[in-house]
Symmetry: C2
Subunit: 226 residues, 2 copies
């Protein structure tokens, strides 16, 4: 119940609330705080060596991002993702990722396209090496370039937020036999379609990719129900 969070350092010049927010978000994503667990302001503030003010502001942000739920005068609790929640997220993401892929096919620059291909290789290497941390890292980079190429900042923010919300359980599907290889192949085809500036096909590839990702995740989760 204690020693969950590391002390905050003020190295970069971000407001404290941002650092605190990222800190808590990561702790939730990494399972340091279990779903449903109560988060107490004073305790977290003490552990991170800051006052309650930035902690409160961080919690407000996390609430909007869907990581925690606040009950007035009762407290803050870590959200627990139900099957329904995951379904809801994927329903939206199938729409938005399809949109983003189509826009990217129209708007991506040659430099970004090269970057995308470079990151595809990077993810591939990480998979070969079986280095999960590197896979996750490169995968995030890959998607970020893709969403940036849509030239729609709001879209990028919404998708990234949805992605983060299911990060907690994405690890489950990553460990699903063969899923990484499939993902890589799906990404490859998507990039191929975008490189060909084929809007329709890019959209279809994105949709297929997301639908597969959801299917695997669902399968992995129901298997894990032990």
């Amino acid at each position: 119940m204690s020693g969950h969070l590391e002390q905050i350092r003020l190295d970069s010049y971000k407001p404290l609330r941002e650092l605190v927010c990222e800190h808590i978000r990561e702790a939730i994503i990494n399972g340091v705080f279990a779903p449903g667990e109560r988060l107490m302001e004073i305790q977290m503030a003490d552990e991170m060596g800051v006052s309650r003010t930035p902690v409160r502001e961080a919690i407000r942000k996390l609430e909007m991002e869907g990581f925690v739920v606040m009950i007035p005068r009762r407290g803050t609790y870590v959200s627990n993702m139900s099957i329904k929640d995951i379904n809801d997220v994927y329903e939206i993401r199938i729409s938005l990722d399809t949109l983003a892929a189509g826009l990217a096919a129209e708007r991506i620059s040659d430099e970004e396209l090269e970057e995308l291909q470079r990151l595809l290789v990077k993810v591939g290497n990480a998979i070969e090496e079986n280095d999960m941390t590197k896979v996750v890292e490169a995968d995030i980079e890959f998607h970020d370039v893709l969403y940036k190429a849509s030239r729609n900042e709001r879209l990028r923010n919404i998708i990234n937020n949805l992605r983060e919300q299911i990060t907690v359980i994405r690890g489950v599907s990553m460990r699903y036999p063969g899923r990484l290889k499939d993902t890589q192949e799906e990404h490859r085809r998507l990039v191929e379609s975008i490189a060909a500036r084929d809007v329709e096909k890019s959209q279809e590839m994105a949709r297929i990719h997301l639908e597969n990702a959801e299917r695997t995740l669902m399968a992995a989760m129901s298997e894990r129900k032990d």
Copy 2:
């Protein structure tokens, strides 16, 4: 520069920050605060008769909702919507409203369907009476029932947020000659498709509706550039 905001009353039991947030949001939507205008915490707190704490928390929320931009150590400014921003919002909304309409066609209950048809009439009456306040009110109700029927709370939140972000300028398109009548007809067809549980057609109707709305808004805005 002063007297912009009314005093806050604590009638219901919502946290102060929520009341303050709604207050400021409405002031922005109603043009009380001009786009680009600087918002100062102490001043707003004084005007509403509360302390800075709930005001700060409200501003954080409005920042995430896209109504204001914060520059660290500089202050908060009301976002100003560019043509690009409107384009971005509609790009996303065309996707999400299409999704929502399709889901609603699958999942709506008979009671909700009746409610939808009732609200359609209500909007129609308001248009006949040329009562803009009533039109807006009924329109919001109509869409809320529709989004609820999608049975995807996240989707509903995201769309509602996007809707609010462009509320500031939606009045412009409402006053566009003939647009209200067209809107009504488009809504009617959408409800018809949903009532028939025709997913494909509902999606198409929603897409057409949104595309028309965007087109009108763009036309109205460029005409207003005087």
